[in-house]
């Protein structure tokens, strides 16, 4: 969150290609697994890019598709949903519902022309801090390559 200024700057300088583009990614993380993993990753002093801003939810199934839409609309370049492995949901079956919703949403986005890599669903258990770091790094790199989404310019009716 402290990066806001940097992001602003990068957005400004994209055209000039002087300052490298820093993507803005929103992470909706399940409190029981991925969020815990991010916490652990922190205490374990793991290094990963600071581009992901985390919103804690009780369960990945709490993530209403509209949140994702809104995130993109309000300037996010990517959205990461982190849930428990299938079968390990703290709420029995929440992650299955998430899986179904995200699959649908991805279809919608692809029709709109939003690149697939911008929306990512990952199962990361609390112990998988290494995976957490890898996913963050990987996603940041991919979105960085895709460049800014610029929802307002590209997708909203003028």
């Amino acid at each position: 969150m402290a990066d806001t200024t940097t992001t602003e700057k990068s957005a400004e300088h994209t055209a000039e290609k002087v300052v490298p583009f820093e993507p803005k990614i929103i992470g909706f993380l399940c409190w029981w697994c991925t969020y815990a993993a991010s916490d652990m990753a922190g205490t374990s002093r793991l290094k990963y890019p600071p581009n992901v801003s985390i919103i804690r939810v009780m369960c990945s199934s709490r993530v209403d598709p509209s949140f994702i839409m809104r995130a993109f609309a309000e300037g996010a370049d990517g959205v990461l949903i982190g849930g428990c492995h299938l079968g390990e949901c703290h709420y029995v079956s929440g992650n299955y519902k998430t899986a179904a919703r995200i699959a649908l949403l991805k279809k919608t986005f692809s029709q709109l022309g939003v690149e697939d890599d911008r929306l990512r669903l990952e199962w990361i258990s609390a112990g998988e801090i290494r995976k957490f770091a890898e996913v963050i790094t990987d996603m940041t790199e991919k979105v960085r390559k895709l460049g800014p989404l610029n929802w307002r310019e590209n997708f909203e009716p003028k």
Binding site: K24, S53, I55, V92
Partner: protein
């Protein structure tokens, strides 16, 4: 007995008039009257056989008298039995003489014969090996035990008792019943290293169906192995219940599932040791004298297979032993973590060996000595003084032949060679030793993953259970009311495990003590004005916490059942449900703040 409808018959035994049930044998009736009839082939748990004929008695029926064996002759009405008439005695003497000709060296025969004044035989003596062919062992084995491991072979004078094809009997269960009933002690059960042997050719299973699970088991009560027990298999036998005087045998006892309602659970499911067969270079499983630390514990235990003697596979005493630390621990190939206990127990092993074989050369091959406990470092120092060789350098390979040109092969070819790099000397070394002990590390229990799933808790990357917080909540888990303790959480030694166990117990007790549990404050609520009663939320709720109020035509959420996942909030098509603390506006605000540009 008198109440049954069975017919009673009247008879006279040695002048005593008595009554008996139909179907009883003379021997049974005589026993009741305390009349002693000698017999060599009768045993109360097997069917009468009538082979030795020593029990022959004279029976007079309708004026005619004849000799019958008391063990198998069933009483009839009006018979008169003489068990000690002159003829009977003469007759028995003759049979005993015959017996003596064969079995004069057999104690039971000699004693019985002596009772009848038969000390020599007029017949040519042909001493047997001691088997009097009474058939008790064969019959017990088939009738009572049901194992059918013994049989008579051939017929007539060539007859003898053996196993099928004289080989090892695969059906023998080592119950030892044959030796127990054998009147001559011809059949012996030998106990060689916790395997029982009857004769030399009968190699028997490791244990009997009834056994105490292991030495020093608590409680020291024998158990019945239902897979080996004849009664459990066939319904036969049941001899243990017949001989058990306190009548303590219960065949009906079964494994039962018991459901206990609890408010909190402590998981202390322990660990398993690293299987060194995975690390082939150490030769475990290939070389007889490479054993694990746990096997050493078993071997050196006073109630172990050798009674505590420390010996090699061939039974000889090892004169040099190498103890290899960090097997499966601190190794990128297997487990990266330190198992924490190996250094100390390796020291203990060295100490035990020093005690049992004072002149043995003992090598400890370590990466680092980790002795961070109360009195641990002192113990290490003591070992140093005891003359144990400490080599700083991990053992890398165990082989039967030296691999380094610098190594001089030992005179004995039964040596094992342990290769390592002595980092203090800065050179590779190869130690010829008699025995190698692998200090294996600790790993999560085999079923840890399954347990984690059942209790909805998480495991760390190494597979041990994850605590809620490493510092602030070391025994809690992310699931309320579930606590962890001991090696289930990670390798630790006994003092640490005890401490953690106590902590977990205290945490559990604190819940009980409070007497009430705080509910999730973040449950979902339905805005009845907006809800259309479409029932979508009813389907998605995993806890069945949502019902439809038919009167109002809206969904109702039961606060006590709701676990606050928020699934319904996301699913509600009309946006009638919101979650306290996580409602749409809050999250959107969060989003907005994050993406504030």
């Amino acid at each position: 007995m008198e109440e049954t409808n069975e017919k009673l018959v009247k008879l006279t035994i040695d002048g005593i008039e008595t009554e008996a049930r139909k179907g009883e044998t003379i021997l049974q009736v005589a026993e009741r009257l305390h009349i002693d009839i000698p017999t060599l082939c009768h045993y109360r748990f097997v069917k009468p056989y009538g082979a030795c004929r020593i029990c022959s008695v004279e029976v007079t029926i309708r004026g005619k008298s004849r000799f019958v064996p008391a063990c198998s002759y069933q009483v009839r009405d009006g018979i008169e039995v003489q068990t000690r008439s002159e003829e009977v005695i003469q007759h028995r003497k003759m049979l005993l003489e015959l017996m003596m000709a064969r079995h004069s060296q057999v104690e039971v025969v000699r004693k019985l014969a002596h009772e009848y004044g038969v000390d020599t035989t007029r017949f040519e003596e042909m001493p047997s090996e001691g088997c009097i062919l009474c058939g008790l062992c064969v019959r017990v084995c088939s009738e009572v035990v049901g194992a059918n491991a013994l049989t008579f072979v051939k017929r007539g004078t060539d007859r003898y008792v053996s196993t099928p094809f004289e080989g090892k009997a695969d059906t023998c269960i080592a119950c030892g019943a044959c030796a127990y009933v054998c009147p001559t002690n011809y059949i012996k059960v030998e106990d060689i290293r916790d395997r029982k042997y009857v004769f030399s050719e009968l190699s028997l299973g490791p244990t009997t169906p009834i056994h105490i699970p292991f030495a020093a088991a608590i409680p020291g009560i024998p158990v019945i192995d239902s897979h080996a027990c004849i009664h459990m298999q066939t319904g036969e036998c049941g001899i243990c219940s017949k001989v058990c005087e306190p009548d303590a045998i219960n065949y009906e006892m079964q494994d039962t599932f018991e459901e206990v309602d609890v408010g909190s659970i402590i998981l202390a499911t322990g660990y398993k040791t690293f299987d060194p067969a995975r690390a082939e270079q150490y030769g475990y499983g290939r070389f007889d004298n490479v054993i694990t630390s746990l096997e050493f514990e078993h071997l050196s235990h006073a109630s172990g297979p050798t009674g505590g003697a420390f010996v090699k596979a061939d039974g000889s005493e090892p004169k040099s032993v190498a103890i290899l630390h960090c097997i499966g621990s601190r190794d990128k190939n297997y487990n990266e973590y330190c198992s924490r206990v190996c250094c100390m127990y390796s020291l203990k092993i060295a100490h035990l060996i020093r005690e049992k074989v004072p002149d043995a050369d003992i090598y400890e091959l370590y990466i680092d000595m980790r002795c961070p406990g109360s009195g641990y470092e002192e113990f290490y120092n003591r070992l140093l003084e005891e003359g144990v060789h400490f080599i700083r350098g991990k053992g890398v390979e165990v082989s039967q032949m030296p691999t380094l040109a610098t190594t001089t092969p030992a005179a004995s070819n039964s040596k094992l060679y342990v290769k390592c790099e002595d980092t203090l000397l800065g050179m590779p070394r190869e130690l010829p030793v008699d025995m190698v002990i692998l200090s294996v590390g600790l790993e999560p229990a085999e079923d840890a993953e399954e347990v984690a799933r059942i209790f909805k808790i998480n495991a760390k990357g190494d597979g041990f259970f994850m605590e809620r917080h490493p510092k602030l909540a070391p025994v809690d888990t992310l699931s309320d009311g579930i606590f962890i303790a001991g090696c289930a959480q990670g390798p630790k030694d006994i003092p640490d495990s005890v401490a953690q166990g106590a902590a977990a117990a205290a945490a559990a007790v604190s819940l009980i003590d409070a007497g009430e549990v705080a509910l999730e404050p973040i449950t979902s609520v339905v805005d009845e004005d907006v809800c259309t009663g479409c029932k979508t939320c009813l389907v998605v709720c995993p806890y069945g916490a949502i019902t439809r109020d038919e009167e109002k035509g809206v969904a109702v959420i039961n606060d006590a059942l709701c676990k606050a996942c928020g699934c319904c909030v996301a699913a509600c098509p009309s946006g009638a449900i919101s979650q306290r603390g996580f409602d749409d506006t809050q999250i959107e605000a969060e989003l907005a703040a994050l993406l504030m540009s």
